[in-house]
């Protein structure tokens, strides 16, 4: 008994001792020294995986860029390749596992979420050639103060903001007499929301609900946010360093209820689909075939509208050549700044004072993954891709609004308008906070509630008091969703 028991206990003791000793030793770590990653010395014979968006691939821009870069850096053995991943690949999931891209091109809200947990590398932005060419308002989107130090995480490439798309050939024949009160040669319905609302009501009534004026999914948070922001709402408050305070939620701030009222009014001139995503997905086709007069979306999809418009026009004008159709659609599809809002927040107020609309926007840019093995080569790629030549080429092929001032000045037109909005603070850059998920979910639902109430002529949101209460409830709901479980 003693012999067997003692050897049994000895075995148990040895196993426990091994677990304890190697367990404790295994968890100890040697202090690691912080290494400066941007040494200025290019890593040689390396391959960089570049994650760019689908449009850059479809238009052939990415291939051109990669070929040019590879030729330039062939002497160092640096090769840049398409990361061959979806445009919305999540670096947070792939990076730590070691198979994410080296360079990512994404919107500021996504990139700044990566920055929060150090998945992208702070850049030596001020020492880059492109630094002076990009306005500080664009750099701001990529700057964050962490532990007392301000970092820049990406190089801005493209400024995004909603624009109004409309069909010039669908304007009333006598619009210059009836829809140009200020005589400036620009139709009133693309200058003022109140006029666009009136015109939409007229088109819907005259066509017995088969054609529409302005159409856009009203539950789309990104595009609808502008109505609220214009009347004083904000998403998160900011401290003196510009950092967002997710405890300060301001959808109900100012006179934001006017924005809610506009959503409700707009629903009345649309169809039953305005409270879901149907209009967004069918807008290309229905603007192309003339069912819609106008819609709102970002400038980077201009070519998609052109394609649908041309396709639709070709079907009804079979004797036209391809060139004639292309010339016609480019002449008649207009992309312009969003109209001005009535100060009163009432779309039936066509005579009152107006104000420029503040819109939700974003800035796309290049960032370097913290998990790259070749940070210096990656930085060289970004320098190359954000040079004047390649940003101009990107504008040409993708129709983007450049963040570079020199390229924007050369482009003019809508690019200049967007740039003006950026400088004048009329673009509310989407926060890169992780908590935006909770914001969008609650905000989207309220938009749908309000739009459906407008559609059915309901009484849930028919007074300012009810709308104010709804906005306050929204703030409380978002706060609860973000902070109760954190």
């Amino acid at each position: 008994m003693t012999k067997t028991l003692s050897l049994f206990l000895a075995h148990a003791f040895i196993v426990i001792a091994l677990i304890t000793t190697f367990g404790v030793l295994g968890l100890q770590r040697e202090e690691q020294e912080a290494q400066e990653r941007f040494t200025g010395v290019l890593e040689e014979n390396v391959t960089l995986r570049i994650l760019d968006n689908d449009t850059a691939k479809e238009t052939g821009y990415l291939d051109e860029l990669l070929a040019a870069f590879n030729a330039e850096y062939a002497q160092y053995g640096i090769t840049a390749v398409d990361a061959n991943m979806g445009a919305y690949t999540d670096l947070e999931k792939l990076g730590p596992a070691g198979y994410g891209p080296d360079i990512v091109y994404q919107a500021n809200d996504v990139l700044m979420r990566y920055a929060e947990n150090r998945h992208i590398q702070p850049l030596p932005a001020e020492s880059m050639e492109v630094y002076a060419e990009i306005p500080s308002e664009a750099w701001d989107a990529y700057q964050s103060t962490m532990e007392g130090t301000e970092y820049t995480f990406a190089v801005p490439v493209n400024v995004q903001e909603p624009l109004l798309y409309y069909r010039k050939d669908l304007l009333p024949e006598n619009w210059q007499e009836t829809w140009d009160d200020d005589g400036n040669g620009v139709p009133d319905m693309v200058e003022n929301w109140a006029d666009l609302f009136a015109y939409s009501a007229q088109v819907k009534a005259e066509s017995n609900g088969t054609r529409y004026g302005y159409m856009k999914s009203l539950n789309d948070q990104y595009f609808a946010a502008g109505y609220f922001l214009s009347y004083g709402a904000y998403i998160f408050g900011q401290d003196e360093t510009g950092e967002y305070d997710t405890e300060d939620i301001g959808f109900s701030a100012g006179e934001s209820y006017k924005g809610a009222r506009i959503i409700r009014q707009l629903a009345t001139v649309m169809d039953n689909n305005c409270a879901d995503d149907t209009i967004t997905t069918s807008a290309y086709e229905l603007l192309g075939n003339g069912t819609y007069f106008a819609t709102m979306t970002t400038p980077d999809v201009y070519e998609s509208f052109i394609d649908e418009f041309a396709s639709s026009w070709s079907r009804t004008h079979r004797d036209w050549t391809e060139e004639e159709v292309d010339a016609y659609v480019r002449e008649n599809l207009f992309m312009t700044k969003v109209p001005a809002l009535p100060v009163s927040g009432d779309l039936t107020d066509r005579e009152g004072e107006t104000m420029e609309m503040t819109v939700m926007g974003g800035i796309h840019g290049y960032a370097i993954s913290s998990y790259t093995k070749s940070p210096n080569a990656a930085l060289a790629f970004i320098e190359f891709a954000t040079s004047e030549e390649w940003i101009a080429r990107r504008c040409e092929l993708l129709g983007i609004v450049p963040a570079r001032t020199d390229v924007m000045e050369a482009e003019g037109g809508v690019a200049a308008d967007v740039y003006d909005d950026l400088i004048a603070d009329r673009i509310y850059i989407m926060p890169g906070e992780r908590a935006m998920t909770q914001v969008w979910a609650s905000f989207g639902s309220l938009l749908r509630f309000i739009a459906e109430d407008g559609l059915r002529g309901g009484s849930t949101y028919d007074t300012d008091e009810k709308l104010i209460a709804a906005m306050e409830a929204l703030d409380a709901e978002i706060y609860s969703a973000i902070h109760t479980l954190s």
Partner: protein, 460 residues
């Protein structure tokens, strides 16, 4: 009598368990008392006793297991095991190439280390029991079993062990590990802002506390739970009795062209469920065909699946689910009804039973008896029916009075929104644990009270 059997079953189970433990303990004590030096040697170093009995191959295998286990402990096992408790202490900083601890990986490797330890302890016990059995065999005047005899046994008397060895390992890695991982996540603060490289920590029952004791979440939780139970009961009943009714109808002699009529439910069954759901969603959309005809007829559009349409959306959900599930219930009932005893019906008719009485006293008990496990699995499936409302009301993220959920969401949909859409992994894990407890308790209770369990011999 049946009641008595039912009432004594749990007690009997625990009594048997206690008896088994006592028996094992007595066997272990006997081993310690009577084990010889070879048994003692195998207790210290696995396989040495076997080698002393000249069971070289068996002894070498056990020795290899112990050596392998020690190497595993030294290289990673011990660290992984301790990591399960600490979940890391150094946060990574990839900006400066500083490697840190990944709490989630540590949790997984920690669970794996526990599984490896359990497997090692099992093999250790097998080693000790084996050598003691050999001692008894030798003391009885027999020769120790040769390796060939042991291997032969693995393909004969102990064949089940040979066959089950790899599946058990597979189950440990692909079933036990993820389930334990999910359960343990419910006791951490993983999610929200706390995602690697930030370090995750143990928080005990805090997540469960948040679900049942934090204002808005408690309200949301109980509202969803109430609707979830109603949904599961109603949808199971509708699908089951709908299928049975259809089967009975198509079983009637007077129905002509049975094959033709059966084709339609089978067609509904054969079409993938999500296509059916998308079809229904389109039909009932604000701008869908049904509203088109309503408005063309001069009426006002009805927002069946709108943000404010709680009960219309719920009823449509029940209808869609019935459309998808009734055909399978019908096929099941058709098969069972073909085995019904015709003589009983003949006798009932002679005794004057009407059609309803025949159904109530003969058909229903017979079908329910045979299908109780199926009803239970349908109930669990419906309780966790993610697809219906995920497809039908994906546009409505939240409803008034709910947090991160809408008024048709089931617990499984809420879990998805919490975990996937909002990254609250630990809360999602806590919800899934609650779902598991609810469904297993309901299933167990229903099954114990069901005729399938209480009157097992009735139809044999």
């Amino acid at each position: 009598m049946a009641d008595m059997q039912y009432k004594s079953a749990p007690r009997e189970f625990f009594e048997n368990l206690a008896e088994k433990i006592k028996k094992k303990w007595r066997a272990f004590c006997a081993m310690l008392r009577h084990g010889n030096v070879r048994v003692a040697c195998s207790m210290l170093i696995m396989g040495t006793g076997q080698m002393m009995y000249r069971q070289w191959a068996k002894g070498a295998l056990y020795l290899l297991v112990q050596a392998g286990f020690i190497v595993y402990l030294v290289l990673t096992g011990a660290r992984d095991f301790f990591g399960l408790f600490t979940l890391g202490s150094v946060e990574a900083n990839p900006w400066y190439g500083i490697e840190g601890d990944n709490s989630v990986i540590m949790l997984i490797t920690g669970i794996l280390s526990v599984i490896v330890m359990v497997i090692y302890v099992s093999l250790y016990i097998a080693n000790v029991r084996g050598i003691y059995a050999t001692q008894l065999r030798v003391e009885a005047g027999k020769k120790p079993a040769t390796f060939r005899q042991d291997v032969a046994q693995m393909f004969d008397r102990k064949f089940y062990r040979t066959v089950l060895f790899l599946p058990v390992i597979g189950v440990c890695i692909f079933n036990v590990l993820p389930i334990v991982f999910m359960i343990l996540i419910a006791f951490t603060n993983y999610g929200g802002d706390i995602v690697p490289p930030k370090l995750v920590d143990w928080v005990g029952f805090e997540n469960f506390g948040k679900l049942v004791a934090v204002g808005e979440y408690t309200t949301t939780f109980f509202k969803i739970l109430g609707w979830n139970i109603l949904w599961a009961v109603a949808s199971t009943a509708i699908n089951y009795f709908g299928g049975l009714a259809l089967a009975l109808l198509l079983n009637k002699k007077c129905v002509k062209g049975k094959v033709f009529w059966r084709f339609f439910p089978i067609l509904a069954y054969a079409i993938p469920g999500f296509i059916t759901m998308l079809g229904f969603k389109y039909m009932f959309a604000n701008g869908g065909p049904i509203n088109y005809y309503i408005t063309q007829g001069g009426g006002s559009a009805i927002f069946f699946l709108g943000a404010n349409s709680t009960w219309p959306a719920r009823l449509i959900g029940l209808m869609v689910n019935a459309w998808i599930s009734i055909p399978s219930s019908m096929l099941l009932a058709t098969g069972i009804l073909s085995n019904a005893n015709k003589d009983q019906y003949e006798a009932a008719r002679i005794d004057g039973a009407n059609a309803f009485q025949q159904f109530w006293y003969l058909t229903l008990p017979f079908v329910v008896f045979a299908t109780t496990p199926v009803i239970l699995s349908q109930f669990i499936g419906n309780f966790n029916n993610f697809g219906v409302f995920y497809f039908l009301r994906s546009d409505v993220s939240s409803s008034a009075g709910y947090v991160l959920a809408n008024d048709t969401d089931l617990l499984i949909n809420w879990l998805y929104k919490m975990s996937i859409d909002n990254n609250y992994y630990s809360i999602g894990a806590a919800i899934s644990l609650i779902i598991f407890i609810i469904t297993s308790v309901i299933s167990l209770v229903v099954y114990i009270f069901s005729p399938s369990y209480r009157q097992e011999e009735t139809y044999r």
